[in-house]
Symmetry: C2
Subunit: 162 residues, 2 copies
Amino acid sequence: MFSLDTAASPPPDPRQALARADALCQERGVRLTELRRRVLEILWNSPTPLGAYAILDVLREDGRTGAPPTVYRALEFLLEQGLIHRLTSQSMFTGCRQPGSRHDGQFLICQDCGQVDELNNPAIEELLRAEAAAREFEALAQRVEVLGRCPDCRRGAIDHAA
Amino acid sequence: MFSLDTAASPPPDPRQALARADALCQERGVRLTELRRRVLEILWNSPTPLGAYAILDVLREDGRTGAPPTVYRALEFLLEQGLIHRLTSQSMFTGCRQPGSRHDGQFLICQDCGQVDELNNPAIEELLRAEAAAREFEALAQRVEVLGRCPDCRRGAIDHAA
DNA sequence: TCGGAAATTGTTATTTTATAACAATTGTTA
DNA sequence: TAACAATTGTTATAAAATAACAATTTCCGA
Ligand SMILES: [Zn+2]
Ligand SMILES: [Zn+2]
Ligand SMILES: [Zn+2]
Ligand SMILES: [Zn+2]
């Protein structure tokens, strides 16, 4: 174990990622419908996480009709399939950087520009699992978010994301 | 280091805890007013975290007049002073179990009964700090929550909190 | 002790996030 | 094609959080 998989992957190329999502859903026997696929694409195309209503706006720009439940249901599906993550401290959603194997992830969230970096540090996950186990607590999910300033914003390079 | 301070402390005795909060605020030169003190008491008296509107209901039972901003401002003060924590995944607040030294804490949240256990595992905190530092990310706060089922609920002892 | 600035609380209105309930449509299968 | 399940559309509402401004209280110096 000379190189733990803690590296924050770059955002995936949306094309490849979507093709992979198609394959994954087919394997699993679930339907990545037009709507769900589009929501996933919107999230993967966005440089920052998006709220449900921001996604809804994009869908409407597409010409599609819809209301909040439309978006929330698509998001629910994508969460179940591990294709996106919910950032609970922000009430926002972001496309997963390593879809395929289910995980909760850890996130570095810039409070200035909104950019997010996804980590998957097994040591952190394991420590939390151990703490839970020591207390006979059945751990079902983890929400781990670090709030602060990204390298770009520390250098004053970027002010605020669009 | 034979015994790291990762033990989840029991909820403090509200009387003692409030006296301590009084002292802390005096030291710091900030005012733990009637309202703020009462909100803190409500949280420490509650077996489970409370939402802002639930706190507002209790305040109204007290006979006090008020609206959401009243509660949110009190909560903001208590958060700043490290006397309470916000559980972002639940939109709820809980009294801190180890007030005095500022920390973000880690929380085991039971999805069945709502009970919460507060941990303060320095190793987890440190790992997150290290991950952030490795990416030149300035970490300002951490949100660490584990969702699942508490020991009581696993044994079917308790169904749902009031 | 009086008056003015600052901090705190009250009040009204609104925004933002999320869900409930039911109808319409689409897909699947017998 | 008829029946059934899954998905999406639609309307309405609930729940969480904040904006803006007024009233009150506290603090401090004149
Ligand atoms: Zn991921
Ligand atoms: Zn940034
Ligand atoms: Zn605490
Ligand atoms: Zn429980």
